[in-house]
Subunit: 192 residues, 2 copies
């Protein structure tokens, strides 16, 4: 199963924190794929920025869902964050090197539990160092054309799968959108 | 618990068909409130009409969810329907007379299972007659200023509760959006 997420999507947090256990229980393998849902939503004029009622709801709902799922969270998360999408490009580098889940969980946890902004250079370096990475080298690679192209390629792959939001789960040609479809997607993967 | 729905919202179908059983099991009383989510979404520039990927997804997802929930459905439902929102005004009349759930389930079932368009006058009359109502009298009342004002008042109540989509569930000040939040809303109603 492909797991498309975006460091910057509030609802992606819930899936990031629970997908490993849920997938293991279902016996389903997961590929973590960071992509720019932001660019896609801008193209589709689908950003909720003009809709204060919906934004307020999303914040409240994510907190309520996290509490229901037993996932730590602190309300009033900063959002939107990381206009350069640097944290997502680091996630792309991490995916190429096999430590994407580890990095993604850590940066989301810092964002949603401590209100550290993804993309903030100081916290990014500290976090990479904690994960045993060469922080300067990783960030240099995340800023390279190669990482930018790889990120664009993943976004393009998402576009071709008709993905319009994050998180999304893809099993064959079947698309599931939203953390609240994680269980449906895993059941689909098991049955097909 | 207040149940805000719209005859014309694909996802409202799922809640319409299962809310009575789910609420009875939870011991929660439900008030059925038809309102114009369409007018609210137009005001908020939140109609997905410009987003073919999202529309295609919604159709597929509703069918998949219905199958998972054991609710009959036939794919390729006509949508959007009933530009005059006549079926919703009939639902308002029905709410005033105590037969709103009965009418709403019947019109949604015809729409989603047989592809009858809500608002089509012939099927509306047949359905009202089947329900033991005086079809001509009910439709005349649904076209009256009184029914239009009552419908606008319910839409206004929804607006004041910060509702931006359908179905929505409200318990006190707590808003839940989407059929996939029905269980959360009922659990909230039980606990609070």
């Amino acid at each position: 199963m492909d797991f498309f997420f975006y460091v910057g999507s509030l609802y992606s947090y819930l899936s990031v924190m629970r997908i490993d256990d849920a997938a293991a229980e279902a016996g389903v393998e997961v590929r973590w794929r960071p992509f720019s849902v932001r660019n896609i939503m801008i193209e589709q004029e689908n950003l909720p920025t003009a809709n204060p009622a919906k934004i307020a709801y999303m914040h409240r709902d994510v907190v309520r869902r996290a509490e229901r799922l037993g996932i730590p969270i602190k309300a009033d998360m900063p959002h939107p964050v990381d206009p350069e999408q640097l944290a997502n490009r680091v996630a792309i580098v991490a995916a190429g090197q096999g430590w994407c889940p580890q990095f993604t969980k850590a940066i989301f946890a810092n964002w949603m539990q401590r209100h550290d902004r993804p993309g903030d250079l100081d916290q990014l370096k500290a976090l990479l160092t904690e994960l045993g990475q060469d922080a300067e080298a990783v960030i240099a690679e995340a800023e390279s054309d190669k990482a930018r192209q790889a990120y664009d390629a993943e976004t393009d792959a998402a576009r071709k799968l008709s993905i319009f939001g994050a998180p999304s789960f893809v099993v064959g040609n079947e698309l599931f959108w939203g953390d609240d479809r994680l269980d449906d997607a895993l059941a689909w993967a098991q049955a097909n």
